[in-house]
Each structure stands twice: as C-alpha cells, then as structure tokens.
C-alpha cells in the first residue's frame, strides 16, 4: 500500500495494545472486525443509524462505524468482548441473558455497551430528553422505564425485544444501586 494512504497506529482495546498498519479509510468498526477478529461489535448499517456497532471510547458511547480507526489512537476502547471481567459477566450481560433481552442477538452487543454507558451516565447525573427537571441541583432523575427507553433509543432492535431489554437494564440498575448502598454501608 502507498505510504501516504496508510499509517501504523496503536489501538488500545479492552486493555490490550494492538499495533496495526491501517488504510486511512478503515473505520474503527472494520479495524475491529476485519483486522483484529473482534467480531462481537456488529455492523448493522455502517452509517450511524442503528447503534449495532456501539462501543465505549474513553467510557463514552461511540458508533464505531462513524469513527476512523486512525483517529482512535491513544483512546481507551471497550468492546463487548471486554465487558465480562475475570470470567464473570457484567450485570447488564447477566440480565440480558436471564430476562431474554435478545432474540437474533445481532443488536445485542451494541445494546449492552449502550446500557452499560446509560447506567454510568445516569449515575453521573446526566439528564435525558425524558427528564422532567434538568437543574443540576435536582440530582439524577429516577431511572424509570421511560428514562431507560429514551436513553436507549439510539439502539434499534428489529426482533422487537425492547420490552425485555428495558426490563434487563432496569434490573442491572437496581443491582448497581444495591451494591453502591452496600459499599457505602
């Protein structure tokens, strides 16, 4: 490949560094799927409309199909493959599995990455379009089903698993609250 159309970059994915020579046109999504064999991140539309490729970049939700891989250097990227820790599923993954928050499974990694970030965004006090009172002093709104639906709306599911997904996210949120209280006590 002509040197001016490719670069050597180091990507930090799930805590592991990968050095790659990349075509500048390669999206983060294609780098994950085609170059690193991390195929858990899904390609549903390749144009930022469906949410299937949602990953966390420096802890924030990002659509991997809309980011060029060369621009992701020096960022901490977490994919679905990095969600389980020490052989234990993330509480969101566990809830999806037990409450059947999936059918065909293709939107699932994106839904789970999104849901993990939703819990963090909510805990950090971020409002959503469904939040009644957005004044900072009001604190985080209650994470109602309506709040979860609004915050998860960037992730499409064509099988129609939304009802179970919302239930799974709510359960993971409740568990997180429980463990936070235990830690505080």
């Amino acid at each position: 490949m002509h040197p001016s159309t490719s670069s050597t970059v180091t990507l930090n994915i799930n805590g592991e560094k990968h050095q790659l020579s990349l075509d500048h046109r390669t999206t983060l999504l294609d780098a994950l799927r085609e170059r690193l064999d991390l195929t858990g991140t899904k390609k549903g539309c390749d144009q930022g409309q469906c949410g299937a490729c949602t990953v966390l970049v420096d802890g924030r939700r990002t659509l991997a199909c809309l980011q060029l891989a060369v621009a992701a250097e020096d960022q901490e990227i977490t994919t679905i493959e990095g969600m389980a820790r020490g052989g234990e599923l993330h509480p969101v993954q566990q809830a999806f599995l037990e409450l059947d928050g999936l059918q065909c499974g293709y939107c699932t990694p994106g839904q789970i990455c999104s849901a993990v970030a939703v819990l963090e965004e909510h805990a950090a006090g971020w409002p959503s379009a469904a939040t009644e009172d957005v004044r900072p002093e009001h604190g985080p709104p209650e994470l109602t089903d309506e709040e979860i639906r609004e915050r998860m709306s960037g992730n499409l599911c064509r099988c129609g698993a939304y009802v179970s997904i919302v239930r799974a996210v709510a359960r993971a949120a409740a568990q997180q609250d429980e463990s936070a209280k235990e830690e505080a006590a």
């Binding site: 195929t39 899904k42 059918q103 990694p109 064509r158 939304y162 009802v163």
Partner: protein, 709 residues
Amino acid sequence: MTTTPLRPATAAGAVGTAHPRVEGLEKVTGAARYAAEFPLPGLAHGWLVVSRVARGRIRSVETGPVLAMPGVLAVLHHGNAPRLRTDYERQFGAHDQTAAVFQHDRVPHAGWPVALVVAETPEQAREAAESLTVTYEEEPHDIALTADRPEARTVDDYLPGVTEKGDLEAELAASAAVVDAEYTTPEEHHAMMEPHAATARWEDGRLDLLDSNQGTTWVQSELAGLFALDPADIRVRSEHIGGGFGSKGLRAHQVAAAMAARVLDRPVRVVLTRRQMFSLTGHRSPTVQRVRLGADAGGRLRALEHRTLNHTSTVHEFLELASIPGRVLYDADAHRTASELVPLDVPSPTWMRAPGEAPGSFALESALDELAEKLGIDPIELRLRNDPERGPVSGLPFAGRNLAACFREGARRFGWAGRDPRPGVRREGRWLLGTGTAAASFGAGAGPSTASLTAEPDGTFTVRIAAADIGTGARTALTLVAADALEVTPDRVRVRIGDSAFGPAMIAGGSTGTRSWSWAVMAAARELRERLAAAPDIPADGLTVRADTTEALGTLSQKERHSFGAQFAEVAVDPATGEVRVRRMLGIFAAGRIVNPLTARSQLVGGMTWGLSMALHEEAVRDPAFGGLYGGDLAGYHIASHADVPAIEADWVDDPDPEDPVGIKGIGEIGIVGAAAAVANAVWHATGVRHRHLPIRPDRVIAAGAVDA
C-alpha cells in the same frame, strides 16, 4: 410412522418451563459468529454495484479504469459472468429470476445489481465499486400502484387467489348495516439488523458457503439449480442469523459470491450494504384493499368481500395473499376473497412476517370495527357472534379454535368491560384517549424434515438438523423437546443446526419451523429409545439414528389448522401535533403448546411490536421521478425504537394441537396479525376519525382532526 404422540407430556418435563437461550451466553459476550465474521486465508471482498435507473438496458460497463485501481481483482457483469440456469424446479414459490444476477443487459428496477467489484480489501472494493461507470439506455418506468390498474390479475399461490360463494350484491342489499371502504398499506421492509452476507469457496468443483439464511438446504437447492450442480456438491452453513422475517432466502449476494469465487479461484465474501438491502432483499408490497361487509341487525354477517391488490416485479410474480384472513375468521352467506397483483418496475416483493395476514388483517379488522360502530354492538361481541363452527371456505372442522377464549381472557385482563363505545370523549390534558381490539389468525403448518440423533458414550445426546434459529429460540426449543423425548435433562442434549450436511429440513418460515423440526426430533428420539431398549451398550463412536417426517405429515387429517389471538391497544392522540402514542398493548393467543414460555413471550411481544411499528411508523416511499426509494435506509425507513414501545404484554390460553407430537402450532407470526388494526381502532375511539391508510402519520392525524365531542 404414525402421528400418535411418543408419550404424553408430563408436568415435570422441560417443555413448558422457561429456559434461557442455549446460545445466549455466546450472544451476550459477542462470541457468536454471524455469516460475515469468519476469517479465511486469501479472502477477497466483493462489492455490488446497483442500477441508478429504474428501467432500461445496460449500454456499457467501463471496467478498464476500475481494474487499474489498487487491489482490484475482477469486475463481474452481464458481459463476462458465468451463465446460470433459471428453469430449475423450486422448493417454494413460482419461477423467480430475482437472484439470477449478471445474465442479461435488462434493468428491471432501480437498485438492480449490474456489477460486482472484487478486491483485496473492503476499502478497495468499495472505492472501486463507487468509481465504476455504467451507462444505460433509459426507458420510461411505471411504479404507480393504484386500485384501477387494468392489467391486475390473480394467480394461484400455495392457496387459491380467489374464493367465492353466494350472491354478494343481493346479501348486501338485504343487510341492515353495510361497510364499504378502501384501505391501503405502504411498501414495508424487513430491515433485520444483520445485513445479508455470504462467503463462497470452491474446492474440487464443490461449493462451500458461509451464509445467513432461513434454510440451509433450501439455499443449497436453489444454488444447485442455478449452477447446475448436484446438491450434494454444495454445503451451506448458517449457524447464527441476525434476523430473517422472510427475507433471508436466495439473494444476489450468495450468487455473486459463488460466481466470483469460481472465477478467481479463491474465497470471496459479499456483504450487502444497508442501502442495497432496500432494493435486493425483498419487501412487503404496498396493498390497495377494499372490504365490503353486510350484516343483519343482530350483527350476523350476510356478506363479506375482501379484495386486495399488490405490486410485483417484472422478474418474479409474487402474490400478497392479503385477502386470506376472512377465509378463516368469519363466515357469511355471500363470501368472496380475491387477491390480485400487477407487475411494475419495482424490486421483487417477498414474504415478510405474516405475509397476507399482516396487511389483510389491518383492513378486515378495521372494517369489523366500523361495522360494530354502525350496528351499535360491542366489537368483541360482534366477533363472537360471527365465530364459525367450520372453515368458512373449506367447510372443514377446526383443529382447535380458541378465539373466543382469547377474547374473554383478554377483555378481563385489559379491563374492556364497561368501555364507553363513544369516540372522542376521553381527554387527559392535550391527549385524547382510546382503546381498540382486533382478532388474529395464522395458519399452523409443518413441512417434511429429517433429523439425526446420536447417543454419545458419555451419556449425552447430539441432535443434528438443518434448522435455522433466526432469533425465534428454535435451538432452545428443540433442546427442550429432545430432552423430554429422551427423558433426560436439557443439559445432556446438544442441538446442532444450520448446516445443509445434516439433510433436508423445513425452513424457518410460515411459523412452521419449530413444529416441523420438533416432529423430526420426536421421531428420531422414539427410534433411538427403541434401539437403546433392545441393546443398551453404546459403541465408542456413538449410536446414531435418522428420522424423516415426510410420510407422517402425509397422514395428517384434513382440518383448518390455525393459531388465533385477541389484540388490545390503548392510545393517546394529540390532534394538534398529530402524535399517536401507544400506551399499552395486550395480546392473548391460542397458539398450540408453548415449548419455552420465556422465548415464546419474546416472539409474541416482538410480533406485536411489529404491529405497532406498522401502524404508526413504517413506510418506504418510492419516488415517481426516479423509481427508487427516498431514504432507503434506517434513517429514512422508520422502525419502532425503544422510546416508541410501551409495556407490551403477551400471554396465551391452553391450546395444544392433539395431532402434533408435541402439541405445537407455531408462534412466529401470529403476534403481528391484527395488531395494527387494534391500534387504528383505538385511534378512532380516541378521535372519532377513521384512519384507513397506514402508517397513521402525524400529518394524517392533523389533517383528519378529531370529532368535536
């Protein structure tokens, strides 16, 4: 083989108890690999180029400049592609040239594949494909589906296009109340989340295909026909499938990948782009429907006529049998159902979740609601008064018809009793509130299938069957069925699916998959138990038996076999902004024995979510000027998102089919049937205005307004 159950279902068995998906762990960790996710040495990437014109001939394909681009290996088009056979006998449906790519210079619709560019990397293939110049001799196109098309005609599909009895005009004239209305539904798309993808390899004249499809032996037989091969020389695998809904059969991508792999003698992967999916993977045709109902003062139907028209392409004759719900749901002295098609310069439509029933039930169940209004009879009561004893068209008895039980249970749980029938009288702030209901039915079929079952020396069992789990939970259901049939716990059963090497099996379609495959698994289990009873020692390589249900299915009695359901919806409508918000939905179904309540509920709620989406959101708009879609992607084509979907509940009444070895009827499609009508009827109840054209968009709601109650 007989149709007698192997053994009665026991309360202690696995069937009927909630079980998480057996492949769920792989799916929530990202480990499950779908069709485009297998790395192969030497893999090349194909990118389709599709037509920008809607009708005409290809004048030239300027391959020279593209072949000089970095990494480009080949450009296939009608001038150089291998020849295909198209006159072979098909397993399902009529003669179809939709997937026979690069065989001629004719362009039948916008988005038709005109070339495949193959390169070393996806980036190179994409850039080269986007650079390819194709010139056309353009011809005027015709894409307008209207009720008055003179060339409309009927055809017979798996059911007749037309049924009729009695004198419609006389019965309508003698009726106390008559409804005569036109309803339309738009072009709708499957829009499953996983794009169609295939990787083809040839070795010693044999084709190996990694694909995403609803039936590996089905796609195998189609490819065998096209490439003039013995099916035994083709292996198709499709282990995980990111949704199908009727669209994942033989498509351009498998054929193009197989051609390119043969020409280049190396593996080639072709993945459709989201935009290409909107012209290459089928869709639900728009429909124009007219319903005429006539009843006596007590609500008994004297006349029922349902006429429907759909478009098809010029390369495939596809009939959307939208007139069929009335053949099952209601009898009348004069009864006529007729579905017609008209070929236009559009892509080929195909089956889409509840083909026929989904659009047809919107019109018929809206019309029933209009009749109830005219007669001053409760909509549920009107349906119960017209619940027939036998098939209205066939005269055959029903293999279970528990529609009335669904309505009774649904009405109780939804709180239907005491509903004020007057429209436009419930207000809550800016919202007008209303409730609606509709009936549902869907055919319960089964297709011949083979399965093998192995008793392993370690005490476990392996089922091999060319089934497809497109998100239905079939893999898990078969595990539970096999466990019960073998009288072991499910953790001792391994179910392997999605490989044509396992032998012929029914596709995941028509809500028949799990029933068809379970039948074969039950038959194999019985044979294995007999063999083990006679000789309990298992050889080192296991003891394997095979079963084939072809003969047993032939002995099934002639009956009307269907699932039924009662749909309920509550909506809030703001006539000033045109917003319609569904607040809750409830569906109660009589759909045979439920194998796995956890995944079955997901299937039924998923179908109802489709109904909500169909009622309010989905509409592919074809531009009359260029003949293609405006916004043919997931930003232009709206499907319901999280924020659109409220609490939706689905449940069922006891309804086992005594003639099925497990008691199954099928649950993949019944959930969508009638759901859009229930929403539309609720919108009427809220506003007093009938919406007969889907989707019920904000602009339509604003234009229609609300009655001044």
